[in-house]
Symmetry: C2
Subunit: 355 residues, 2 copies
Amino acid sequence: MVKDKIRPSLEEIKPYVPGKNPDVETVIKLASNENPLGPSKKAMSAIRAGLKKINIYPDQHALLLKDALSRKLGVSPAHIIVGNGSDEIMQFVTAAFLNAREQVITSKHTFSTYEFVTRVFDGEPLFAETRDRAHSLDEISGAVTLTTKLIFLCNPNNPTGTIFTHKQLVKFLNQLPKGVIVVLDEAYREYVESKDFPDSLALIKEGRDIIVLRTFSKIYGLAALRVGYGIARPEIIKYLNLVKLPFNVNGLAQIAGAAALKDTAHVKRSIKNNKAGKKYLYKELDALGLDYKKTEANFIFVSLKQNADEMFLNLMRKGVIIRPLTSFGLPQAIRVTVGTPAQNKKFVEALKKVL
Amino acid sequence: MVKDKIRPSLEEIKPYVPGKNPDVETVIKLASNENPLGPSKKAMSAIRAGLKKINIYPDQHALLLKDALSRKLGVSPAHIIVGNGSDEIMQFVTAAFLNAREQVITSKHTFSTYEFVTRVFDGEPLFAETRDRAHSLDEISGAVTLTTKLIFLCNPNNPTGTIFTHKQLVKFLNQLPKGVIVVLDEAYREYVESKDFPDSLALIKEGRDIIVLRTFSKIYGLAALRVGYGIARPEIIKYLNLVKLPFNVNGLAQIAGAAALKDTAHVKRSIKNNKAGKKYLYKELDALGLDYKKTEANFIFVSLKQNADEMFLNLMRKGVIIRPLTSFGLPQAIRVTVGTPAQNKKFVEALKKVL
């Protein structure tokens, strides 16, 4: 029996529930917060130019990409680690810092990978209550105990698009005991419009024990390539590197990431499309009298008065895939990615038919 | 102090020592057992065709690639897991099966990632003596204790190119206690000429607790893309999947792997080149009176009477990068990849000058 051989902690691990991919071309996918404008053309060209050398192992230190990020972010390459998606870096964090039975705090109804990487390293996840659908930093600091090692917070929050501010974050960090490391998952940072959003890099430069995660999967349109990065004090990055398999980031992702960073026109277009899409969707959701959250990201959280899985199926029959939030513990809510104008319109029309 | 926060087991983790990449184009790299004929052209075309959709997350189950592998190998897709390189699957094995302080056996002087993935999950690595530079299955079974959970064996062995046979493997497996899982790393399997090489898939079909690892990084020429696979009974694969991050294998790697599998002409050319290169190198190494091992892989192990790191530097000055085996615990041995005829000749000429 193989079951007798597994690690006991595996019994608590739940499989990830992804956004559904379309079965036919006419169906549109607004389920995984991908960039509806597609990948950066500069990234695509860089990949084409690199194809002849894919028989060679990638740079294990991702030096060129770290160099490009370093110049963009104004931190040294020693402040940066690159991962096979930023979710891999979440696992480096637990691999490097989490001992068995230490506590990891996150919020209820948030990205499930924080729980996953905690369980893989035998930690104890604790889920703080949210307030008004957003992270409650008060609930979280109230939950801290002597065994708390890590806190995972996504900001903007997935799936609600809400944020906490710089001021709120500083107050929160000041209350924490010294042994705690805070991971700030800023996957949607580039979409944020609020002026009060945390300047997390400034907090790293102050010497705080925080790890900031960002990704090329969202605004840069490279989700298929799996490349994200972490920023922290070099002393922290050193230990994350120690638990990293040498060739974790594929060579085409390294090349494409560096090219996408330089494609500021693509980023600007993507932000503009998102702003316009938010405005349109707010108006239509208001007109439908639906309860939704104003978002700082590229998706909108909508509360329903009906079962989300049913809504998902009904919308799919009309050609639109959204994300039912049942796997987030919210069986009466959905999350919809802001798409192109045509996609947003198709979603609204489908929604009107199924409500 | 960050050091106070890390997991104690990290103190034993040593960074991976990779093959050096050339600084200038005129230098040839025979250090990492990459395919000197380059990537499959079919794989390159498949990537070009897939570029427009790299803004979409990859299939978390790698269904198309598993399907292609399933047909090629004659096992069901449920027998297969795909990894971000086969080294990631090594880590899935320890994540799924290794409890803290359980023992993991491998040989001295072999691929270092077995030790790495053991330490990440707080296991106790034990290194069995080799015999005549090859794995000694007797030494390994003699080292098994009540706490032994896993055994990692690469066959052909890296860095010596030696193999153990089907008969030897079956005898070895029959002696093992029920609780032990054996990982057979067959990264170089496609290069094997010996008729006595284990039919490991037949052993899986018999219901043995073995996990076979293979890769697209070697003969298929896709090292930059990071894609390898594991084959085992579905009951074992199920648990490996449970500890896998959802989007571990990038989309271009999935596409390219499936295309490379179909490119039998590229594989045949690569085998032919390797056979001819082995023959040429044997002859030249014999003429130089050097002590080397006959290989079943795409590299040759050479024992020196001098320091390998010095030899590495001297050869690099002549334009050839090989792998000094100091990091394998063999400070007087090198490993050289079988290259193209021109590369092999350049290596031999450089060697003659520096010996």
